[in-house]
């Protein structure tokens, strides 16, 4: 029996090793491509005439749509940061999706809203609108109170009210830098005929509404979980999505910040309400339709940090969030499986879908299997204890290299953090394998099980705990970016 188990373990470990080598081979390939892209975009940013663009009447106007649900803790900061954008012409449409907390009251107090009737077309189906409000303080702000229908439904409602040719879809828990819109739209304005969508890096913070500090002096959270998430986001955006963008298979414009050409969204019928999350599915759909019809389409990801979003500060909340992400990835990959290795879909089909299958669909199983089998293999003598330990060390530092590279990309572009915080982030890289990756792998298994069961729930996590300002908590500030000499 032991012998049979040993043989099984031997071959299983080999399969896991093969997957590991394939996955890390992909990650390192993307790292190399991503580095070239990050360098190029960094230099473009240094050369860009942002002051000219922010004052020009030829800068394309944008409608910002922000769906919110029970965001009383952050909505004022989020909306304030949107209205403070250094951008010549924009409107902000906040869609409260049946919020049951003080979201609307907070907006009323902060922006002096008055009820207004606005006749608009319902091109995209959405749940009933109960009331509309304009701000007396800033007429660019429109607030919608509607019956709960989910984030996609709220976005579609906002799209019906949007007046401009480009729409920037954001999350209600993200606070933006003043030049966020300008950074995203500059890519659009270089090639408006072909660039259909743009996204950019959004950093993780336990309290995104707090002023991050001046460039070079920005402090990172002391919380370990937040920092691991920060590193996760850095790798995802700077290593991977920059490479996807360069290779023309950018397959995930994040819900926190995604600029789309409005006619593209209207042609596709808006955001799909029957997927767990709306962002990744829409990106797949854009590529699928445009490539199938032979139309040129570019969806780009910038390495620039345009704002901060709240990351869960408890493990249970993180697991819930990541399980949801895993579900939507599986839903989307399954739905668009006809693109897999299909040359008609070019880089999306030949590189993007295989990447997702290897690194997102299969990876959780191999990770959990490897972590479970290693001690068993050591016990049965298939691997010596020394070999098992070395294996873990190899993975830990292989991952650490990816993390250090992401930190390097970010620092070379923005020079945001203090040197001691850079050191802390770098040292956390190898430690991730033992602290952060196991619960993530578990979350992805839970998400996979949820997908197989057909679970579509959002399972929104509660906002991180905050002291009220009156009780001595930190003030709510809208951060201002200032360019650092590099």
């Amino acid at each position: 029996m032991k012998a049979i188990l040993a043989v099984f373990l031997h071959w299983s470990l080999l399969v896991c090793l093969a997957h590991l080598l394939l996955a890390y081979g992909l990650y390192y390939f993307l790292l190399a491509v991503g580095w070239a892209e990050v360098r190029r975009r960094r230099r473009e940013t240094q050369a860009e005439d942002f002051a000219g663009l922010s004052a020009s009447r030829f800068t394309i106007p944008v409608s910002v749509v922000a769906p919110v649900y029970n965001e009383e803790a952050l909505v004022v900061s989020t909306v304030g940061s949107l209205l403070a954008q250094d951008y010549p012409e924009l409107e902000v449409i906040v869609v409260s999706d049946g919020s049951r907390d003080r979201t609307l009251e907070c907006l009323h107090e902060a922006f002096d809203l008055e009820p207004r009737h606005v006749f608009h077309r319902r091109v995209l189906a959405s749940r009933e609108v109960r009331a509309l409000y304009r701000s007396r303080r800033d007429p660019r702000l429109l607030v919608v109170d509607k019956v709960n229908g989910g984030k996609a439904d709220a976005l579609n409602c906002g799209l019906n009210l949007a007046r401009y040719r480009y729409v920037c879809c954001v999350d209600g828990d993200t606070v933006f830098d003043r030049d966020a819109l300008l950074r995203g739209m500059r890519l659009v304005m270089r090639d408006p005929a072909n660039v259909l969508g743009v996204t950019s890096h959004v950093a993780i913070a336990a309290r995104p509404e707090l002023d991050p500090g001046a460039p070079g002096e920005q402090r990172i959270d002391t919380d370990l979980l937040t920092n691991f998430q920060r590193l996760d986001y850095l790798r995802a955006f700077l290593n991977n999505r920059s490479a996807w963008s360069r290779l023309d298979f950018m397959l995930c414009t994040v819900g926190a910040f995604a600029i789309w050409r409005r006619d593209v969204l209207m042609e596709l019928g808006g955001f799909a309400i029957d997927f767990t999350c709306e962002d990744i599915e829409l990106t797949f759909r854009v590529h699928e339709r445009w490539l199938r019809e032979g139309r040129r389409c570019r969806v780009l990801s910038l390495p620039d940090t345009v704002g901060r979003t709240e990351g869960p500060d408890r493990l249970s909340r993180l697991v819930s969030q990541r399980a949801r992400w895993q579900r939507v990835i599986l839903e989307t990959v399954w739905h668009y499986r006809h693109m897999f290795l299909n040359p008609r879909y070019r880089a999306v089909g030949m590189l993007g879908l295989p990447y997702y299958v290897i690194s997102e669909v299969l990876a959780p199983f191999f990770e959990v299997l490897s972590l479970a089998m290693l001690p068993l293999a050591a016990w049965l003598g298939v691997l010596s204890l020394r070999q098992a330990s070395l294996f873990l060390v190899f993975i830990a530092f292989a991952n650490g290299i990816l993390t250090s590279a992401a930190v390097m990309f970010q620092d070379a572009s923005e020079r945001s953090y203090r040197v001691r915080d850079l050191l802390r982030l770098i040292l956390l890289g190898p430690a991730e394998l033992f602290i952060y990756r196991p619960p993530l792998a578990w979350a992805r298994i839970v998400g996979t099980w949820g997908f197989l069961r057909g679970d579509k729930g959002w399972h929104k996590f509660e906002r991180n705990s905050r002291l009220a300002a009156a009780e001595g908590g930190a003030p709510l500030l809208v951060p201002v970016r200032s360019e650092a000499l590099s």
């Binding site: 050369a47 860009e48 002051a51 030829f58 009820p115 009737h117 691997l383 060390v393 000499l485």
Partner: protein, 407 residues
């Protein structure tokens, strides 16, 4: 697993070494960068405190050279190339750099490029040469415009736009004609062009290419005193290209030219929707409430965007447009009735009427409000009542519209 016996220790060791080296590089390069930045900031502070910007150019250059004599080439070129450096200071720095290290390497770098690194050296060289007003800078910038490299072209457009020379303006206009880059980005540079190029734009109003005619019409807004501008733009109201017609009416209204009104009125019937919409907005821009009646038919336009533009224009005309709007409350088209009611709401007219009626006023005010509410429907009634801090049921009862019952 025999293969792992030698492979694993090597792999683990290699991963550890690479991680260590990479991490050390990240920290070291950051420390070096911080040291460099401190030197640059210190030099910059000395320059700014010395009041260089206020000195005449010759004295500025002499003074800057004294301060910069010990600064490294990197510091000088970085400050010169920085967009945030005041123009006079940047010029002095660039001239100092050329004088001290020679123009030859910069001229070589600016002429052509190969690869990523070469691209950025070319842009940096072009920037320095332009700031120093080198005699060959404009020709090199024109060559960069034709390079076909979008990043280099973008930088060249911005730099040419800062050169106070008519030939630079001509170069940018030719770039639009030859489609060397996105016309709107070129227009952004021309928007702030420091020299009057109205006479370069006027002939282009008759160019064979509609894109050129369009941008000429748009950019001439900056040069309102160009001879014969008004009539020439008005004649473009009959241009075969819809974008050109749109640009013509937009610019005429922004200029407040006498030809604006007749041109806009004529284009309210244009077959292309965005021309009608811009014609409507042009009348709104002119704030001619006496022309409100001419916009009313557009409240019933078949296109949503035209109806929206008409509403925005009527709202821009302000309360004097209210009388015309009230005449549309009985329009046979539902969109026209809705639109008129909405604009009256936004002008505050309905709020005033509602306050009066709820306080007991009757007669004409009550009748006017009833018509508006019937045109706007239940949502309008509810919002009106909410703003009056009263119940929708009471307002509905007073006006006897029956809207709440019908729903």
């Amino acid at each position: 697993m025999p293969g792992l016996a030698t492979g694993l220790p090597l792999a683990a060791a290699a991963a550890f070494v690479v991680w260590t080296l990479l991490s050390a590089y990240v920290l070291t390069s950051r420390l070096l960068h911080d040291a460099r930045s401190r030197r640059i900031r210190a030099t910059r502070r000395r320059l700014e405190r010395s009041g260089l910007e206020s000195l005449p150019p010759r004295r500025r250059l002499l003074h800057a050279s004294r301060i910069l004599s010990e600064a490294s080439r990197r510091v000088v070129t970085r400050i010169a190339a920085d967009r945030n450096t005041p123009p006079g200071l940047a010029e002095a720095l660039a001239v100092h750099a050329l004088g001290r290290w020679g123009a030859a390497p910069l001229l070589r770098d600016a002429a052509r490029h190969r690869g990523e690194g070469g691209r950025w050296r070319r842009i940096a060289a072009l920037r320095l040469l332009t700031k120093a007003a080198h005699p060959r800078s404009l020709r090199l910038l024109q060559a960069a415009l034709r390079s076909g490299d979008a990043t280099v072209v973008d930088a060249a457009v911005g730099l040419i736009g800062s050169v106070p020379d008519r030939r630079a303006g001509e170069a940018l206009l030719r770039a639009i004609e030859q489609r060397l880059y996105s016309p709107s980005r070129i227009a952004t540079a021309l928007e702030r062009f420091p020299v009057d190029i109205g006479d370069l734009l006027m002939p282009r109003l008759r160019h064979a290419d509609q894109v050129v005619r369009y941008w000429a019409a748009v950019l001439l807004e900056r040069f309102p005193f160009a001879p014969g501008l008004g009539p020439r733009l008005a004649s473009l109201g009959g241009d075969p290209d819809a974008s050109v017609r749109k640009a013509a009416v937009d610019t005429l209204s922004r200029l407040g030219a006498p030809e604006a009104v007749p041109t806009a009125l004529a284009l309210l019937d244009d077959p292309v929707l965005f021309v009608r919409a811009h014609a409507a907005r042009a009348l709104g821009e002119l704030r001619r409430a006496d022309l409100a009646a001419s916009l009313l038919p557009l409240l019933a336009d078949r296109e949503w965007w035209v109806r929206l533009a008409a509403k925005q224009a009527l709202e821009a005309m302000g309360r004097p447009a209210a009388a015309a709007l009230e005449s549309a409350l009985d329009h046979p088209d539902r969109f026209a009735r809705n639109g008129a009611a909405e604009v009256l709401q936004n002008l505050g007219v309905l709020d005033d009427l509602a306050r009066g009626v709820l306080a007991g006023a009757r007669g004409t005010d009550e009748a006017r409000l009833r018509r508006a509410v019937q045109a706007g429907g239940r949502p309008l009634l509810e919002m009106l009542a909410a703003r009056a801090n009263d119940g929708a049921e009471r307002l509905d009862a007073v006006l006897a519209t029956g809207l709440l019952e019908a729903s």
